[in-house]
């Protein structure tokens, strides 16, 4: 009973503390409010967030949200397909794993900021380049979790299938992929957050074309529109959360019945 109460109250209490801290910082910052207009200059208090959220500003934010959502979802979908295929291929043959693993690690540890200008030069400042950046940043957890999931299948289960002379395809379809699915879903949930980061961080460099959330944050920052800037940042967070929750729901539907991490 006490645990259930704490489980319910805990997140709300932390959220209220965050809002309180927000107010504290907003009202204790020196020069936060313009002496002439009284408008917040650096951090708007929560109740004044939406003061400038109307007309063209609102339209621009929604357009940017649509662009970033499209980029993140397209990138994530490509990462999921390509990542699972690469992970499966690496799990089938040691030489494939040895050939690809160092390059994937190198890709993972290269800062995204170093990759974006290269992508713009190679592909241009277009949707394809934005998606490519998103794929590069989000593919690694999917590959590594697919590989880990397949390699973690109990050897006796492999023996069970080998004793029936099952083909590699049958073993993959009936054993390896279902057994690896909890790990793959964990990878997808991590990748969902990274895809949004990729779509937004990459966007800071794309000065041409319709702006996504990243470009818009820069625009609002340069024009001292702190309210819309905060709303844009919060929408970016909401986008990441939405994708994370989506995969959580799919995870529950696909493996919830049988896997201990979900089934309770």
């Amino acid at each position: 009973m006490k645990r259930r109460f704490l489980n319910a109250v805990g997140p709300v209490a932390v959220f209220l503390a965050f809002i309180a801290l927000w107010y504290l910082v907003a009202y204790s910052l020196h020069n936060n409010f313009s002496p002439a207009s009284g408008k917040p200059m650096i951090i708007p208090p929560p109740h004044r967030l939406f003061e400038d959220f109307h007309g063209p500003i609102r339209d621009r934010i929604f357009t940017a949200l649509l662009i970033s959502t499209r980029t993140a979802i397209t990138g994530l979908a490509i990462s999921a397909i390509v990542g699972i295929v690469i992970g499966v291929a690496m799990a089938q043959a040691k030489w494939i794993e040895r050939s690809l693993w160092p390059h994937l690690i190198a890709l993972q540890v290269t800062p995204i900021i170093a990759i974006v200008p290269l992508m713009i030069r190679l592909i241009g400042a277009n949707f394809t380049a934005r998606v490519t950046v998103t794929v590069i940043i989000s593919i690694f957890p999917i590959v590594s979790n697919t590989l880990f999931g397949i390699q973690s299948v109990h050897p006796s289960l492999h023996d069970l299938f080998r004793l029936q002379n099952s083909s590699r395809w049958v073993i993959l379809r009936k054993l390896q992929l279902p057994a690896a699915s909890p790990a793959i879903f964990t990878g997808l949930r991590v990748a969902a957050g990274l895809a949004v980061i990729g779509a937004i961080v990459g966007d800071f460099f794309f000065t041409k074309g319709d702006p996504g959330l990243g470009q818009l944050i820069t625009f609002f920052f340069l024009n001292n529109l702190s309210g819309p800037m905060f709303i844009t940042a919060l929408l970016a967070t909401a986008l990441g959360l939405m994708l994370f929750i989506c995969f959580g729901v799919i995870n529950r539907i696909v493996i919830g019945r049988w896997h201990d991490s979900v089934a309770r």
């Binding site: 023996d159 009936k174 057994a179």
Partner: protein, 243 residues
């Protein structure tokens, strides 16, 4: 009785030079139940894997006639499949007609007393029920040779004794041979026609005990003086082998 499995002077040396088995000879006839006991690490499970064809011997010959089913130490159930679908798995992998799969699965489930739990998932089963499901998965294939790798090792004593009896009853109507690896001397004596004792690594069969009991056995057998005497002799042999 026709011999369905035979190992003649079989040996196994791993690539790193470790000799796991040496000069091992075993025969199992149709309808015969043979158990192997021996110290930990002597190569009992390795012999079973060689018998199944999962690994190849490096010396000697191994001959199998007919089909083989392996029952592992853990139940090796697929957690996303129901009990019924787990039992049907081997038949499904053999691409047998679905109607026949359904019929044989139902019979096997009834035989192990799991008809009412057919739609449950493995996580909803007790250890004993999981092992019964695993047994049913092998029974449903009606093989010529069963290979059991300590299938009841993880169970409590009561469940183990009960499953020993159930296994005997299940196999009594079949003409299949069985090779059974166990650490329990009582289990080996209760189940078997013959008990083979293996030496420490490199393992080989050093002694054979013919069990002097008929096929009609029940739990009371365990408390007879003959049972205690045979078990004691096997235990004494094992003690002499263990350094």
């Amino acid at each position: 009785m026709s011999v369905i499995f035979s190992a003649e002077s079989a040996g196994l040396m791993y690539p790193d030079g470790t000799q796991a088995l040496i000069d091992t000879s075993v025969k199992v006839a149709a309808g015969e139940f043979v158990s192997i006991v021996g110290p930990s690490g002597c190569g009992k499970s390795t012999l079973l894997r060689m018998a199944s064809g999962l690994i190849a011997q490096t010396t000697g010959t191994i001959t199998r006639t007919g089909t083989v089913q392996f029952v592992f130490q853990d139940s090796t159930l697929l957690p996303w499949r129901t009990v019924r679908k787990n039992v049907a798995l081997n038949l499904e992998l053999q691409k047998i007609d679905q109607r026949i799969i359904n019929e044989r699965t139902s019979v096997a489930l009834a035989l192990v007393g799991l008809t009412d739990s057919a739609d449950k998932l493995p996580r909803q089963l007790s250890g004993g029920m999981k092992m019964r499901t695993s047994l049913a998965r092998s029974l449903v294939c009606e093989p010529d040779l069963y290979l059991f790798d300590e299938p009841f090792a993880a169970l409590d004593e009561f469940s183990r004794e009960r499953l020993n009896l159930e296994l005997r009853n299940m196999l009594s109507t079949r003409n299949a041979g069985s090779l059974f690896v166990t650490h329990s001397i009582a289990e080996a004596v209760f189940l078997s026609h013959r008990v083979l004792v293996m030496s420490p690594r490199p393992g080989s069969i050093v002694k054979e005990f013919v069990i002097p009991f008929g096929n009609d056995r029940d739990q009371n057998l365990r408390y007879t003086s003959e049972f205690a005497q045979v078990s004691g002799e096997i235990a004494q042999t094992l003690r002499e082998l263990t350094p």
